[in-house]
């Protein structure tokens, strides 16, 4: 779980007001999902409540919790995590066997939430926001490719360079936000290299 190494994204900015929204993500082991949730609940506030109870009992994680006040058409962006360098080009100098880093790029690893009000702020209408969410659900995994094509065995493994693989979820769109929790997205991460199958659920509401 990314939250174990980043720390859970918890952010708050001021008390409830007209332009305030809350975003929360749950990470649910698929076994728990199948046993307690699959096909059971349709109403989002009730689903959120039960997930919240499971989170309090420690069976479900909350990797993202964020509360924020939006004003006018000013975009709001929250980033939790950090930048990391990755080599995007390698160079071989002269007769040396080993290659060197030639060009490096920086990538943000963590959680990014970008919100911006869309609609006017009528009290009786749903608040509409543009939302972009990116959340790395695991640290980058580095893979290797050899460059010495004639080499064999341990020499071949040694003469190799690494490149990254990022595992993340992304949601991008416009969404109406009410005073009750609304499910933004629910995603299955199938069982594989990254471990057991997990479900990720993102909710949004106005406090």
């Amino acid at each position: 779980m990314l939250s174990l190494w980043l720390g859970t994204v918890v952010s708050s900015c001021g008390g409830p007001s007209r332009g305030e929204v809350e975003v929360m993500m749950f990470a649910v082991p698929e076994a728990v999902w199948l046993a307690k949730f699959e096909g059971q609940l349709k109403e989002h506030p009730m689903l959120w409540k039960q997930l919240d109870e499971e989170a309090r009992a420690g069976r479900v994680e909350r990797p993202v919790e964020m509360k924020c006040k939006l004003a006018g058409d000013e975009p709001f962006e929250k980033r939790v995590g950090g930048e990391k360098e990755f080599v995007e080009s390698w160079r071989k100098d002269g007769a040396a066997k080993e290659v060197k880093q030639d060009r490096v790029t920086r990538r943000f690893i963590g959680t990014v939430i970008r919100l911006q009000l869309q609609s006017d702020m009528r009290e009786d209408a749903p608040l509409r926001v543009t939302m972009k969410l990116e959340h790395h659900i695991a640290p980058p995994v580095m893979r290797r490719i050899n460059y010495a094509n004639a080499a064999t065995g341990a020499e071949r493994e040694r003469l190799s360079v690494e490149y990254p693989q990022f595992e993340k979820i992304e949601w991008n769109g416009v969404i109406s936000v009410r005073h009750e929790w609304r499910l933004v997205t629910q995603l299955l991460r199938p069982q594989g290299d990254g471990g057991n199958a997990m479900r990720y659920l993102v909710f949004i509401k106005r406090p």
């Binding site: 989002h44 390698w90 071989k92 004639a150 629910q186 290299d193």
Partner: protein
């Protein structure tokens, strides 16, 4: 039907400003269920079965452990607002390599990011947002990778190693690790009704044909569903099966013995294609016919759609013995429609491989190129409800090899459900034809058969001269059918294709054979080494392109313009010794592989519908036996 959809969209567009302040809050779900191939086909076989009924059976299969959920994504959606959701891995893969030839170092100097997982983009529009009844039309774009990149090892060789600033006798050989990707995708417009699940697409897993490591044969069923986000208000009760009829096209490609396929085509009544398909599917279940292709797609009144399930196979193009440039080819199924136009490409087996030895003194130095073996259809999709034969393709002798059987013909059927019930087909207010609409062009079926006979019979099989074109050729044709049946004659080629008058159509079944036409000669004249530096592609197999007019349909006469090519012998690449011999003569005129083929082509050939016409004979080039090919064409 198209007019009906336009009217619906226009009404929606006019209503949009009125409802913008309080747009519907929707919930969109897509699930991909992987289930055994024959079980899915059995679920879908009964025509007019609703998607909800099929979905319920699929979920039962998941519950029973026979099927599994391989992708599941749900998203909030506001009406008229597009969203995108991605879940998976962003994988960097090398895209550019710097070459140190003498040491065979290929160092990555550029990477591209590739997405492996599930992606969905959707733009939903409700038919009646102010009194929501569950009818939603959505632009649906989805991509699913059933597995991560697969490492493919490519031989790399450098034949002219320089040492101490001069050419040496050394060559160097090694292996380059490259990657293939896998993708299943659908892009098109889909109609939803009553919150019920809709079958967006059905396709084989992208890795089923190649590498084919998974046991059994499977189909991935993409189910979509759009509901109101808040479930507190129940949708108005309706008979959803009647209100939201099935809008789906399903393709089946079935391979069976070529003689049997010829007999079926001769005895067949096109009105009974549904029964014929069911009979052939029963034989697939019994194991005496082979299912090559099964795919389905939601259809929405002729709106463009694209379905893909394939391995994206990278192969070297520039200097392929030490790659500096790559191309990719899809190996799997690609099906595109736009209006009435249809294009289908389907690989019958993993690609074969051509191997070039590069050095007589370094046997491990080789170069590979893939030979893609696929069937292609460019024609029309049916608009009428029902099951229709789209094409027949006999697999030519020159394509036989691993994974490709001898004496097999593949019949491709389309099972089309337009969403208009048969009784409403002429009722405009129920989705049927508008009174002032132009009738759709008439569909025909063209068939070309090439028989192989002893060469001594040449005089017996000449075509009638131009002013006797109307004299029936049926007697000679049926005599040949009987001879094929008895084993006294064989089939050299057989293709059939559904088309409509006035439009170009093409059917082909070919192996994409790459032959070397330029070489890098040896650095030292006495070094027996050559490496190809440029390749040319030869379409080896059978292809037929047609265009026909029906100037007087009431006279049952049709004018056919066509070109038919049939390869008569497998191309053979010149050996390294032969290539070195050409280089030794200071000639750089490398012939590449010889491609022997025969052609029949005519312009405005007059045909009487239903009557076969003899097109004459050819002595097949590249064939040692004293044989003769005689061609017949007929259009029904």
């Amino acid at each position: 039907m198209k007019t009906h959809t336009l009217a619906l969209l226009t009404a929606i567009a006019i209503a949009t400003p009125l409802c913008a302040a309080d747009d519907l809050m929707l919930e969109v779900r897509q699930v991909v269920i992987r289930a055994p191939e024959l079980e899915v086909i059995e679920m879908m076989a009964a025509p007019r079965k609703t998607d909800a009924e099929v979905a319920a059976r699929l979920w039962q299969s998941v519950k029973d452990g026979r099927a599994s959920v391989v992708s599941d994504v749900t998203s909030a959606a506001d009406e008229h607002q597009q969203f995108s959701v991605n879940s998976g891995r962003q994988v960097w893969l090398p895209s550019e390599l710097s070459q140190d030839f003498d040491r065979l170092y290929l160092t990555p100097v550029g990477f591209e990011e590739h997405f492996i997982g599930t992606a969905l983009e959707c733009l939903p529009v409700a038919a009646a947002p102010l009194a929501f009844d569950g009818q939603v039309q959505a632009e649906w774009k989805t991509r699913f990778s059933p597995r991560g990149p697969l490492t493919v090892k490519w031989p790399t060789s450098w034949l002219n190693v320089w040492e101490n600033d001069k050419a040496s006798d050394k060559a160097v050989h090694g292996w380059l690790d490259w990657r293939d990707l896998f993708e299943e995708s659908f892009n098109g417009s889909v109609r939803f009704g009553g919150g019920e699940p809709v079958i967006i697409a059905i396709m084989p897993p992208a890795d089923q044909v190649w590498p084919g490591e998974r046991k059994g044969r499977w189909l991935d069923v993409f189910l979509g569903q759009i509901n109101k986000a808040d479930q507190d208000e129940a949708l108005p009760p309706k008979d959803y099966a009647a209100s939201f009829p099935v809008m789906r096209t399903m393709l089946f490609g079935i391979g069976l013995n070529d003689k049997e396929a010829l007999a079926i085509m001769s005895a067949r009544d096109a009105r009974d294609d549904a029964a014929l398909l069911q009979k052939l599917l029963a034989r697939v279940r019994q194991g005496d016919a082979r299912l090559h292709l099964c795919a389905a797609s939601a259809n929405d009144s002729g709106a463009p759609r694209n379905l893909l399930s394939a391995r994206l196979h990278d192969y070297p193009t520039e200097m392929p013995s030490i790659p500096s440039g790559w191309n990719y080819m899809i190996v799997g199924t690609q099906w595109q429609t736009d209006g009435r136009d249809l294009e289908l490409h389907h690989d019958l087996a993993p690609p074969a491989r051509t191997v070039w030895p590069l050095a007589l003194d370094v046997p491990e130095a080789v170069m590979w190129q893939p030979r893609f073996r696929r069937l292609n259809i460019e024609s029309v999709q049916p608009t009428a409800n029902g099951t229709h034969l789209l094409s027949l393709q006999h697999i030519p002798e020159v394509m036989h090899g691993e994974g490709i059987r001898s004496h097999e013909s593949v019949l491709v059927f389309a099972q089309h459900e337009s969403g208009v019930r048969p009784e409403d087909e002429f009722a405009p207010n129920k989705g049927g034809a508008q009174p002032d609409a132009e009738p759709p062009p008439r569909d025909y079926e063209a068939e070309m058969i090439v028989f192989e006979l002893p060469a001594k019979e040449e005089a017996d099989w000449q075509p009638a001269d131009a002013n006797r074109w109307h004299e029936p050729d049926g007697k000679r044709f049926h005599a040949l059918l009987d001879r094929v049946k008895s084993g006294d004659a064989t089939l050299a080629a057989h293709v059939a294709l559904r088309f409509h008058a006035g439009s170009r159509a093409k059917v082909s079944i070919t192996e994409d054979y790459r032959t070397a036409v330029e070489f890098d000669p040896p650095e030292k004249p006495d070094t027996p080494r050559m490496r190809p530096t440029a390749l040319k592609s030869l379409p080896v197999g059978t292809s037929w392109e047609i265009k026909a007019h029906d100037p007087a349909p009431e006279d049952s006469i049709l004018l056919l313009t066509h070109a038919f090519d049939h390869s008569t012998a497998k191309p053979t690449e010149p050996t390294l010794q032969e290539t070195l011999a050409i280089a030794a003569k200071d000639k750089e005129d490398y012939p590449g592989a010889a491609h022997h083929f025969e052609t029949w082509a005519d312009r405005d050939l007059k045909l009487i519908l239903g009557q076969p016409r003899c097109l004459g004979t050819r002595r097949p080039p590249g064939v040692k036996d004293e044989v003769l090919h005689v061609a017949f064409v007929r259009v029904k």
